[in-house]
């Protein structure tokens, strides 16, 4: 599993590889928590890529309900059909069968994941913590049976059980019921070695030495007590910005110019004063500091 993930330029820690392996073997959904920007969503994307299947994504938000997540009838088409058939004088029973047929059903992500014919899909339920508890309870039902009942059509069973990945930013605690139904993975910020690997794999044109320097800087930045720690996504943004500016080493001026990629709140940027940048730089460049 780890090798397969490496091939997709996703540098998986053993924990992540184990989690994906177990979730697939035990046919359970995988609930992934962790700070923003540590690569939670990426797991589902890579999983879809490895298994060569479709990624079906359900982005959660407050107020999300079953209509948007599961299915909806295409009312406009149904009404049109009714009007047209009124002229022909069609048999009502037959007509009902037609307008409540699959052709008039709009599949939303959950139903699509269940009814996909070509093989199991990867279903990503992103930021589940944004949806409300009522939706969580509904999801519990779908995820345990992988079947959906539509009153007009009857029960639809999954053709293939999809691999499910749920992510949460911990803006609220996920209910015990849902947590128990899943396997649970908490992703930490990457270690220095891993971050360097990721930079090397994802950012073309960054040298080994520069990648180490960038990673060291970000790692020390994360250790600061205040402010939101930057995620790996932000490190990548920053590295890409530096490379496109044709920089190959860090200095105080460069850091200040490009800090917007890394520290994304106004207070954090203001608090990171020149002196502190210099101190962080010294940590990031121990060899040169010793030489100079």
């Amino acid at each position: 599993m780890q090798e397969a993930m490496d091939a997709c330029a996703y540098i998986a820690e053993p924990a992540i590889a184990t989690a994906v392996y177990l979730a697939r073997e035990m046919r359970k959904p995988l609930l992934v928590e962790g700070d923003a920007g540590v690569g939670k969503t990426e797991i589902a994307k890579v999983l879809a890529q490895i298994t060569g299947t479709e990624l079906i994504r359900l982005q959660c938000y407050e107020g999300l309900d079953a209509n948007t997540a599961l299915y909806e009838w295409n009312y406009q088409r149904q009404i049109l059909r009714l009007r047209m058939s009124e002229r022909d004088g069609q048999d009502p029973a037959q007509l009902e069968a037609v307008i409540f047929g699959r052709d008039f059903l709009l599949e939303r992500p959950l139903l699509r994941a269940i009814t996909r014919r070509e093989g199991p899909a990867v279903l990503l339920i992103d930021e589940i913590d944004r949806a409300d508890e009522a939706f969580e309870a509904f999801l519990l039902e779908v995820l345990s049976d992988f079947q959906v009942t539509i009153p007009e059509l009857g029960t639809i069973r999954a053709e293939h059980v999809p691999s499910v990945v749920l992510t949460s930013n911990q803006s609220r605690e996920i209910g015990d019921g849902l947590r128990r139904r899943c396997l649970y993975l908490y992703i930490e910020h990457p270690s220095l070695e891993k971050e360097v690997c990721i930079l090397r794999a994802k950012v073309p044109g960054v040298s080994e030495r520069f990648a180490v320097e960038i990673s060291r800087f970000v790692q020390s930045l994360r250790r600061r007590p205040t402010g939101r720690p930057p995620g790996i996504a932000e490190t990548l943004d920053w590295a890409r910005a530096l490379v496109s500016l044709h920089r190959d080493r860090l200095d105080a001026e460069t850091v200040e110019e490009t800090l917007g990629c890394l520290v994304k709140d106004e207070r954090g940027a203001r608090e990171l004063k020149r002196a502190e940048v210099t101190a962080l730089l010294a940590e990031a460049q121990p060899a040169e500091a010793a030489a100079g």
Binding site: A19, L22, Y75, S171, R179
Partner: protein
């Protein structure tokens, strides 16, 4: 080692986790058993990861898990020997076994000594007022035991008026709202497909989400009993209210607050919260709240209520940092200060002064009337 040994060991391990406050259900153990069947048992790191995932150990419980894992889970012989050193040996400090500190002061009728004069005044004068109206204005620290009992009854009624807000979720309504095509269309079947009336959906009413941080230090003692009654009644109306008590350290007391008699609850709390009616370190306590609980309990819809007199002996910088973090995340921060009821009071205590810029509403909490007014603040 046989499968049976492995399962028995797993069950003991799960039991030890439970004793250390990590919530593990039977279903989780079954998942763990299945997961262990899929990994290389000789690889200790792999076994640890598999257990973490299948037992669904939350991030905040991870250190407890790791301590137990290294103690009880030996790679070579998971059966039998491991858990012989019982996990009971080291109960968590400060919980039920903790240094018992029953604080008789908090349990006494608080104003029994202090309130003589005001009592006489309240009972003797103002014939136009009903007993209820008098109770509403009576400061808590001047109340007798029987007053308190009556007030608790009033309080229970009060919380029913808890302000509500509109959620983004849409529910069917008879009044105004957006058109609900799904229901409209189904309804139209009764009239032969003719849309006679539109079904509508409007935003649902929701009870506010509250997080209450209650100061239980010595200086708050005269008010403690009453404020607790208030919190209990809040919890009855908004069941998901989270409650934390702090003085020199912070304790999550939500699980102990069951609706019911206030006396026993108070005793349980006094025994369970370390250093009840001791000194205060508001800054450190709030900082601990920020680092351990803020993310999970406070969202952009949560109102954070701090019940404290702001008499802090800690470093103001710590308090400022914590207040800033809370204010940045919460919908609003309400600080209820029992001292504010005194017209001579100025928020000059150092802690209070530095915290004020981050507080959306600063309100008194010295009698029933002030708490009544607070309930309307939650909605605004």
């Amino acid at each position: 080692m046989s499968d049976h040994d492995l399962l028995a060991h797993l069950a003991r391990f799960a039991g030890a986790l439970r004793e250390h406050g990590v919530r593990v259900a039977l279903g989780d153990e079954l998942d763990a058993a299945a997961a262990l069947g899929l990994v290389d048992l000789a690889d200790r790191a792999e076994v640890r990861r598999a257990l973490l995932m299948s037992l669904k150990v939350r991030h905040r419980d991870r250190s407890a898990f790791d301590a137990l894992f290294s103690r009880l889970w030996t790679a070579d012989a998971p059966g039998g020997r491991g858990p012989s050193e019982t996990p009971r040996a080291n109960p968590r400090p400060g919980r039920f076994h903790g240094p018992s500190n029953p604080s008789p002061r908090a349990l006494l009728p608080a104003g029994a000594a202090a309130g003589g004069e005001a009592n006489a005044q309240a009972e003797g004068g103002a014939p136009g007022y009903s007993r209820e109206a008098l109770l509403r204005r009576k400061p808590f620290d001047e109340c007798t035991d029987s007053d308190l009992a009556d007030m608790e009854v009033l309080l229970a009624r009060l919380s029913l008026r808890l302000a509500t807000e509109r959620s983004r979720r849409l529910v069917p309504t008879r009044g105004r709202g957006q058109a609900d095509l799904r229901r409209s269309f189904r309804r139209s079947l009764a009239t032969g497909g003719e849309l006679v009336s539109l079904a509508r959906r409007a935003r649902a009413l929701e009870v506010p989400r509250l997080v209450v941080l209650c100061d239980t230090s010595g200086s708050m003692d005269p008010h403690a009993r009453f404020l607790l009654a208030f919190i209990l009644s809040l919890k009855r109306a908004a069941a998901r209210t989270e409650v934390f008590a702090f003085n020199t350290e912070l304790v999550r007391v939500t699980p102990w607050l069951r609706p019911g008699r206030i006396g026993p609850t108070l005793e349980r709390l006094a025994a369970g919260v370390p250093d009840w009616s001791g000194g205060t370190r508001i800054g450190e306590s709030l900082a601990e709240f920020v680092s351990r609980h803020l993310q999970e309990t406070v969202s952009a819809r949560t109102t954070v209520v701090i019940l404290s007199d702001g008499l802090d002996r800690g470093d103001p910088a710590v308090l400022v940092g914590a207040m800033r973090a809370i204010a940045a995340r919460a919908r609003q921060v309400i600080w209820l200060n029992p001292l504010l009821g005194d017209p001579r009071y100025r928020p000059e205590a150092r802690g209070m002064e530095v915290a004020l810029p981050f507080v959306d509403r600063f309100a008194p909490a010295h009698n029933l009337e002030s708490l009544e007014r607070f309930l309307t603040l939650i909605a605004a």
